[in-house]
């Protein structure tokens, strides 16, 4: 049913519809209202679930790991420094191939201390072996959360649903939640083939020496790559039952044949999309909304980048000393195209800096003006705020 809901509230209900057995979370900053709302669902008797309030994000991830390993559907949520505190456990979860879901309410990582939205936190754990799906709006966040459980359980690869903090989590807007019956049809009860069971003992996470570690990594890498198929299948089946796609591996807005493209992840896509409607330009431009970042959808990307002459890659994070994170990967993929586009790599909206509605014409102006494409620049930098030597 379509209702006006705050993002966090909708996400809590979406998680509830997936009938988790255990939700573990650190209830204090950096946290969103998601787990607060889940705890209300539990307290009101609307969700039968063990809610474990723990003393740190490290423990939150560990409790969820243990629950999922014992055959119970598990969920957690965090952001920013909380994700970093989980980092060790995130590698354990994915390395042991434990299916579970977490929401990363994307926020900046300190120092300087900053509670606002960018995507540095999830980017910091992009190589942890988790599937990462980025959501452009709260509807996508709800749909992706529900799909995430099925993707995780079919692939035995954990899924991180990346939802821009505040910009989505704290925004109230019309959101449609599927019915329990629909979600039950889409998402069968959790069954884990290697569930811990005292009658049939087995060890998880044992020491693997050099004679097998390489193979373990290879098999994990293949599993995440293969998840591409399951992400598409989950979205297709979801659309069949609920009547709406969550955004596939990626989606394109605008003319497919446009030779200028803007590639972005998360809620900035929405602003760019409206900006494109408001400020039409002479050259046709398309927006590539990258939903799956891990696995990196190489084939799908190659297809939409074919024939593109100018490509803007927008980042909400930065690799200091190198530059763009997504841009680096897209640039490497682009070398396999028959025609290498000019790639303009910009970071925007770091630490919550507003991405204004004029973003699109400004980007088009910048790439038209540039003799050489920007290898990497912070697009909305205000250099006059810095001492001359730092500009």
């Amino acid at each position: 049913m379509l209702s006006a809901l705050e993002g966090s509230q909708a996400l809590a209900q979406a998680v509830g519809l997936c009938r988790p057995g255990v939700v573990a979370a650190y209830p204090i900053t950096p946290q969103t209202h998601i787990v607060e709302n889940i705890s209300k669902l539990v307290a009101d008797g609307r969700l039968r679930c063990e809610l474990v309030s723990v003393e740190s994000e490290f423990s939150a991830a560990s409790v969820a790991l243990g629950a999922a390993a014992s055959g119970v559907r598990a969920y957690t949520a965090s952001s920013s420094q909380g994700i970093l505190l989980m980092a060790e456990v995130l590698y354990n979860i994915s390395g042991m191939r434990i299916p579970m879901v977490m929401t990363c309410a994307n926020r900046a990582v300190g120092a300087p201390l900053n509670i606002w939205n960018d995507q540095q936190d999830s980017m910091a754990v992009r190589d942890s072996g988790w599937i990462q799906l980025y959501c452009a709006d709260n509807q996508e966040a709800v749909d992706t959360t529900i799909q995430a459980f099925r993707i995780a359980e079919r692939t035995e690869v954990p899924v991180m649903v990346c939802v821009d903090g505040f910009v989505l989590t704290h925004t109230l807007e019309p959101i449609d939640l599927p019915t329990q019956e629909q979600v039950d049809r889409f998402l069968p009860p959790y069954h884990f083939s290697r569930a811990l069971d005292s009658r049939n003992p087995l060890s998880l996470g044992t020491c693997v020496d050099p004679s097998f570690f390489t193979e373990a990594r290879h098999s994990q890498h293949q599993a995440v790559l293969r998840a591409t198929t399951e992400i598409m299948a989950a979205d297709r089946d979801y659309a069949g039952i609920i009547g709406r796609s969550g955004g596939g591996l990626l989606s394109v807005v605008g003319p497919a044949e446009a030779d200028v493209a803007i590639l972005a992840l998360g809620s900035v896509c929405s602003t760019v999309q409206e900006s494109m409607q408001l400020f039409p330009q002479d050259r046709p431009v398309k927006l590539i909304k990258l939903r799956a970042y891990r696995p990196f959808p190489m084939a799908a990307l190659r297809e939409v980048l074919q024939g593109v002459r100018d490509l803007v890659v927008l980042e909400r994070a930065i690799a200091p000393g190198s530059g763009g994170i997504v841009g680096m990967e897209v640039r490497s993929l682009a070398t396999t195209l028959t025609q290498l586009p000019r790639i303009h790599n910009y970071a925007v909206g770091l630490g919550g800096r507003d991405v204004p509605i004029e973003i699109y014409p400004r980007l088009v102006e910048a790439i038209t003006r540039a003799d050489e494409p920007a290898w990497f620049e912070i697009f909305d930098l205000e250099p006059e705020k810095l001492p001359v030597e730092d500009r």
């Binding site: 209702s3 006006a4 705050e6 509670i115 606002w116 939205n117 709006d137 821009d164 505040f166 910009v167 989505l168 704290h170 925004t171 109230l172 807007e173 019309p174 809620s267 900035v268 929405s270 602003t271 999309q273 409206e274 900006s275 409607q277 919550g352 507003d354 991405v355 204004p356 509605i357 973003i359």
Partner: protein, 177 residues
């Protein structure tokens, strides 16, 4: 923040698209906060901050003295203030057309708490003609129950008469771009 969510929810109740969000920060009751609402007949995609609002609702008259609070308001836009002082006085001081009434005082009498939210929203609905009373009631009913709801519904009726009905209707049409 609650006022923004309520206003957006009320707009949703009459079939509008809506968006409400805080000026993200460490919000707590009593501290100065900004929250924004967008209402439209078509889906709202943009996630940028509201820089040039058509209307300003100011819950604490002290904020009128804070530099920049009125900046960005569109030419001819409306300002609604919770204040025991008169509209004429405040308009004179700010140099802009201000509509004022003692919303918090009225709330204190009706509900026992000096929270200007609901009274201001009712006045806003009445000034703009944007939202029928029923929409506000639906939004309130989704958030409050029992005695608190009853008292707030009475507050809605009382506050609606405190301002000139639909006197902002033209602004609403002119600035809804």
């Amino acid at each position: 923040m609650v006022a923004a969510y309520l206003l957006a929810s009320a707009a949703f109740e009459v079939g509008r698209y809506c968006q409400a969000f805080p000026n993200f920060g460490a919000e707590r009751r009593g501290a100065p906060v900004m929250a924004f609402v967008r209402i439209d007949a078509k889906p709202i995609l943009r996630r940028s901050q509201v820089r040039t609002p058509a209307f300003l609702i100011i819950q604490d008259p002290g904020l009128l003295n804070v530099a920049g609070v009125l900046d960005g308001l569109r030419e001819g836009g409306g300002i609604l203030v919770n204040s025991p002082r008169s509209s004429e006085e405040l308009s004179g001081e700010t140099g802009k057309a201000v509509v004022s009434f003692a919303a918090a005082q009225m709330a204190l009498q009706m509900t026992g708490k000096p929270l200007a939210n609901v009274a201001l929203l009712s006045a806003f609905a009445s000034l703009t003609g944007l939202l029928p009373r029923e929409a506000l009631i639906k939004a309130l009913s989704a958030r409050f129950k029992g005695d608190v709801l009853e008292k707030n519904l009475k507050l809605v009726d009382m506050a609606a008469d405190q301002v000139p009905t639909e006197s902002w209707k033209d602004i609403t049409h002119a600035l809804s771009a």
